[in-house]
Symmetry: D3
Subunit: 179 residues, 6 copies
């Protein structure tokens, strides 16, 4: 039995994520989807709560008729410091055999803790990315092509597209300037 | 579609919990099992990590052939203060219609936040309780009758019974004395 | 101009507190009432939020026709560790000349930080104490004589007496037993 | 009786804030001035402590002969995550009927929690802003026209103008660069 | 080169600790003394700051003419949860080969993380213990025989014996009662 | 006896730091090297853990045959807010007589707390800086001339140069853009 851990923020869960999920599912028996920065929400970088992201992911998995019983969806809050992050993952997630991630920080931390880390082939990353999605929502581009139909429906019915636009009405949404 | 939230610490998941799970499942379409004090572990009161508790619960649900696709297992860390706890639950859990709990604090907080809260009939609470389980492990009583066979097997194979006994080798494990 | 700092938890604001407030007011121009453990609530030891405690204190000050413009009511959250507590007080409170407190920890921390600390003569401490108030609410004694009429009215209208009784329905409310 | 909540950081309390205070006071019986990011200080974005900001606000309210007994000044620390922020406000502030704010995040969070949120007409925002004030202090412009005389006097007597200039002597004060 | 880690709270550093230090020093090249609960102080259980404990330890090591250059004294704050504690130790301490501890929790956490853990023969534990020391200070017993002369001198010159007695003037110092 | 406190992040400990250490050592009997942002690591700004930084510093002090027994190396975690930082330093560090620092924030906080603060003459700051070191590692410049031989050897043997390069493989390592 191979249990794989796939970690992301899923802000939102887009077509590139679904591609990754299929890739990992083919290579393991169970997939734990770890939802990172789980307690962050209501910012342009992290607009959705973990609960909302879980609803999106379930809607997308159902839409593709993937076997729900082979998935676990676990929200993972950020650690106070990077060095503690792996132990928070280990506390919240059932034992796993392999980690799938392309993020350099995630890879470094997991490798230093002794885990096997594998990369995931990316699908059209210029379009299928959370940053591109959020930019299109704010600037009025076609965000619908980035997510599946089920996710798009969920986002609109819950008023979550509108939430992003509201949050963007601050002066300088894209670059953090201090002060 | 009714989504119910059932909250507990599940230290460990025992026969009384299984009784509650069945009771809630009969009255709703989806059951979110919220695993409270999710980041606490390695104490006599909270010996197991959330990941270990999730493995126990899945083992028990499979043993009873309950429909896994109607469950969500969500670890919920403690809030810094009680007043923030409901908002942490709301952040981590998909929208829910009703909360099942017998705990006075959980009930009070959820009711003040406007949620419908229902009680659960308890099954033989003198025996089926986490506190009684942990006491029997430490004092050498029959802890096996408190949990299902699948949970007992999991606890032994992972050395978790032994962990409780090790932790109990402090001077006064049952009462916190300051200093 | 002498500004005095009077610190307490005010769970609830009782007749002994009013006695202390009058005592301090006679000896200073402005009184900062620092509401300690400000973010704690919904426990038997700290049943009320800081906002509720502020409403009680204002109701009591008005009832006694004390000059509101000579008071500041400042909620003070607990520090992560005792050594940081004075700096949190200094951050939240306007500069003060003297601290009034009978609590040994408060006195020790403030004295080590170089402040002048004075005691307050207590009024009938066996009756006028938050602990005695909460005990009477739970056990059905006469809690009304401990607080002023305005505070009693506020507590009942807001359902706060009932909150304490609900919270007390746990197994061992008065002594913390681990586990 | 209408109690309004007006939230800001007041770094410092400037003429635009006084305009907003008057606007809210005309439309309510009591005004709670919530001092946001209360524990932040000693940075270019948040140079002053909450205690210092309270002293400024009181000085300005007295200067304008506004009725102090209709105001409450409550420091509100930042929440660990946005989703918990409303519950921290609810814990620290007496019950309020309406929130006045122009900040998109504050508005979104309060509206999602079910509160009525109203905007405030801004007075000459290019000049009357905390950011403009701090920039003029650092670059040597006329910061005095941005605040009232009482606030200017307080800032100078306490050496707070000098504190901002000291803090600005780092390499890149205005833009956060990592690393 | 063998680097050993010896962890304790050292409230205060007593003759039993010195015995343990000698025992570990004989079996390793370098000894890291990890000062646990480093940010806790000003309570009966943890009366001294980490800085004060470091001064005590250095005074005692000098008194015994032990080679200071073979020691490192590292304050280790408590982790938010037990599961993160080992990673905090790993972050703060240079790489170590073996851990010396008799505490069941420390042993369990370190062993689960894969470290070699060894016990230390205790010297007259009924007398040489921090709890006994603090009890004697409060109740007026002979606390001097528990610590070395250099430590006793330090404690008196800095007024730290008096601090413990002040802190003990609360109602129920030895047992935590809630509320 | 003069005890001086020298605070830095030492990411890594470079030749400029050694120059400062010598400068302070000549002017005091004991030097406490406070290792700031002690729990931060695994980022481009703070790549090394405090334990790793301690190993570097000891290697460098030995290389220069400086008297180890006149040094204390104390990791100092960041405070939740600037105002609490001095009290965290005071908790972790033995009493000190003077602070050496060129950082405006450190100087301001320490001066407001009443400490004597002195500057340190900088040695060739364009080259000898942590930021320049990390930039050269990432961009392939000569980082070796910035640190001593002992530090360079340590960094390579432990794979820490490689860690920085791995962490740099994110999209925009040098400027934090939100989102």
């Amino acid at each position: 039995m191979v249990r794989a851990l796939l970690i992301g923020r899923f802000q939102p869960f887009h077509r590139g994520h679904m591609h990754a999920v299929r890739y990992v599912l083919e290579r393991s028996d169970e997939v734990v989807i770890g939802i990172g920065s789980a307690l962050d929400s209501h910012s342009l970088r992290n607009p959705f709560t973990a609960g909302e992201r879980i609803e999106m992911i379930i809607a997308a998995l159902r839409e593709e008729r993937l076997p729900l019983e082979r998935f676990l969806l676990i929200p993972i809050p950020d650690a106070p410091h990077h060095k503690e992050w792996v132990s928070i993952v280990e506390a919240l997630v059932p034992r796993f055999d392999v980690v799938y991630s392309n993020d350099p920080l995630t890879r470094t931390l997991m490798e230093e803790a002794g885990y096997e880390v594998r990369g995931i082939p990316l699908l059209n990353r210029e379009v299928y990315s959370g940053e591109e999605f959020r930019r299109r929502v704010v600037e009025g581009g076609d965000w619908r092509e980035i997510v599946s139909e089920a996710v798009a429906r969920y986002l609109e019915e819950r008023g979550l597209i509108e939430r992003i636009r509201k949050l963007a009405r601050s002066d300088k949404p894209w670059v953090k300037v201090v002060p």
